[in-house]
Amino acid sequence: MSALVKTVELKKYYPVTGGVFKRKIAEVKAVDDVSIGIKRGECFGLVGESGCGKTTLGKTIIRLLKPNGGNIYFDAPDDVMEEVEKLTNSDPDSERLKELRKQYDLSTFKRGKLRRIRSKMQIVYQDPTTSLDPRMLVKDIVGEPLVVQKLAKGTHVTERVLEMLRKVGLTDKQLYRFPHEFSGGQRQRIAVARALIVNPKLVILDEPTSSVDVSVRAQLLNLFTELQKDFGLTYLFISHDLSVVECISHRVAVMYLGKVVELARTEELYKNPHHPYAIALLSAIPIPDPTLRRQRVMLTGDVPSPINPPFGCRFHPRCSKMMEVCSKEEPRLKDMGNGHFVACHLF
């Protein structure tokens, strides 16, 4: 499968201002040198705890945030990607590379071009209560992307909206209602309908099941799998709920303080995690079976602030297997074979 999205050393920093003149005194390195590739048609899981930067990464990939560095190659054919890779290694300043970047690198897109490409990438937010405009009817909410992207007009819009609502499991009657008249699960379906109505290729699902009940969660997960098959979508599934990610993703990446520490196929990661943080994270999941007790690794302390991350490997102060090199040098993602990458000096 070819890559739909490929990020190369993507960076997103937030300035911290202080002092009388509000000068930049520090930076929050929310996403720091992340290079991942999302294959077409797959569901790519992204897990991590609060402050690790997973939501920031998702939003930066679809350019809701402007990256501070790095590239985001979107929807480029395989041969173009190969060429880009060759040129980046051999001749980074070439004109040809610049041309290719202008065509495929989202970080170079501005205004009009960016607006046009937005129909190819959409996002579903975590909290359906705040992600739907409370003063708009469902028809307008779901129809808006069509109107804005100039893909349909007038009654044609209503037809498309009805079609979409039926696909996500809502009825015609609910077309003319306000969001607050619906339950959480239904609102999330409206958000999904809004995201899919423009036929995007990539959908970022930012913790879509965190704000809904357990019984509705299964309904939504079913909906996501069905829609992925029907529409040929590619998902970036961001979540802190590791059990849900295990069920729906093909590959999973674990993030910590702005960096990807481990990336593997789902079964591989959950059965055989390598990075100490990934091991601790996976062992902390409570099992809904009182007879099974897991081998637990408990971490000390809290997640440190991303403003002044520890030097070297960012996890080293909390790591039980810390070595001297960990506080000096940052580990890079190494290929352990079988598509399993780890960023740790132990390997």
């Binding site: 699960g185 357990v214 299964a218 309904q219 059990s243 789902t266 809904p288 009182p290 007879t291």
Partner: protein, 382 residues
């Protein structure tokens, strides 16, 4: 084991502009001494208001309209719903404590951690502190290390012991030199608070004690709230989804902490959650709640191995497992303004029979210690 808390036929209604919300419909629960009872249910099923009702702190449009809440910490059995506010205030924080879901919202943002935990102490353990202060002063006098005005401090503490609200105290506490006794009190409180934070496994409690709530991380804030709740060694601790908003590794730490503290202090815990994984970790018995009434109560092993109520079964089946198809419960939670007649689950139940839509089932003990509210199993006995 004897019963500590017994909720019998609790009925709670909210009178809103949109209608009367029948939030709790004859809830029956009992909690034995020393155990952790989990109350599981989805949003809107009424678990939080059950907890608030136990403390008789339900917000205004809500009115408790029936039932009893029997609380038996020692040898006296009191019905919490029929007590005066003054009696209740003595119980809250001391015999029954509560910890909430979003810790930073429940901490006052303008007071430091020290101030807030001290407040709990001052409210309930004032006498103990005064006695200790007096003993300390006596020791100082005996060993000759007494500084001047110490006799005056002692008389102030005696006054506090007798009548904490006396006007003499009020006046003296404002006069600059004479209110030195306060320093001793503050010193003692500070030591107590640092100790309790250390028990909560907070690293460097000396520093944390002076922080404001917004400076604390989620995990630390939750520990502070737990510290406040446990400051007076309550007999019953009500935990309303304390780890829902925390990261999974922090959740693990807090759950571990709660287990350790329970063993240390011997409290009983009423643990409210919607996460079956947490229930399996922490609870000994489980009560499953749906739309304002309890469906099933049983031992935690029983509930997971042999769930009987269709809702419990549906809930357990909808837990996502890899490789398995996602199963969910059809339909949505009914609006409690006009709840369905009969059993509130009947319109979503795959096994519903005719009687389910007509009559509400009663809570019946179908096996030893396994209570159920369902028409399908009425005939089943031990």
């Amino acid at each position: 084991m004897r019963t500590l808390l017994d909720i019998e036929d609790l009925v709670l209604k909210f009178y809103t502009y949109e209608g009367i919300v029948e939030a709790l419909d004859e809830v029956n629960l009992n909690l034995k001494e020393g155990e952790t009872l989990g109350v599981v249910g989805e949003t809107g099923c009424g678990k939080s208001v059950t907890a608030l009702s136990t403390l008789v702190l339900v917000p205004t449009p809500g009115r408790i309209e029936g039932g009893h809440i029997f609380f038996e910490p020692g040898d006296k059995r009191v019905d919490l719903l029929r007590q005066d506010e003054s009696v209740l205030r003595k119980i809250r924080g001391k015999d029954i404590s509560m910890i909430f879901q979003e810790p930073r919202v429940y901490l006052n943002p303008v007071y430091t951690v020290l101030d807030q935990i001290s407040e709990v102490y001052m409210q309930h353990r004032m006498k103990e502190l005064c006695k200790r202060a007096i003993a300390e002063i006596d020791n100082e006098i005996k060993s000759g290390k007494a500084s001047f005005l110490v006799e005056f401090d002692k008389s102030m503490f005696k006054e506090m012991l007798k009548n904490p609200k006396s006007s003499v105290l009020k006046v003296v506490s404002k006069i600059p030199i004479l209110n030195r006794y306060k320093r001793r009190l503050e010193r003692m409180l500070r030591k107590e608070v640092v100790e309790i934070l250390r028990t909560m496994e907070i690293a460097d409690p000396e520093r944390v004690v002076n922080m404001y709530p917004h400076e604390l991380s989620g995990g630390m804030a939750q520990r502070v709230v737990i510290a406040m709740a446990l400051a007076c060694n309550p007999t019953l601790l009500i935990a309303d989804e304390p780890t829902t908003n925390l990261d999974v590794t922090v959740q693990f730490q807090i759950l571990n902490l709660i287990k350790i503290l329970k063993d240390k202090f011997g409290s009983s815990i009423l643990y409210i959650t919607h996460d079956m994984g947490v229930v399996a970790e922490v609870c000994q018995r489980v009560a499953v709640m749906y739309a304002g009434s309890i469906c099933e109560i049983a031992d935690v092993m029983e509930i997971f191995k042999n769930p009987i109520h269709p809702y419990t079964k549906g809930l357990l089946e909808s837990i996502p497992l890899p490789g398995k198809e996602f199963k969910s419960i059809d339909g949505t939670v009914p609006s409690l303004i006009n709840p369905p007649a009969g059993c509130r689950f009947h319109d979503r139940c795959p096994y519903a029979i005719e009687i389910c839509s007509k009559m509400k089932p009663k809570m019946v003990e179908v096996k030893k210690d396994h209570f159920l509210r369902c028409h399908l199993y009425v005939g089943v006995r031990k």
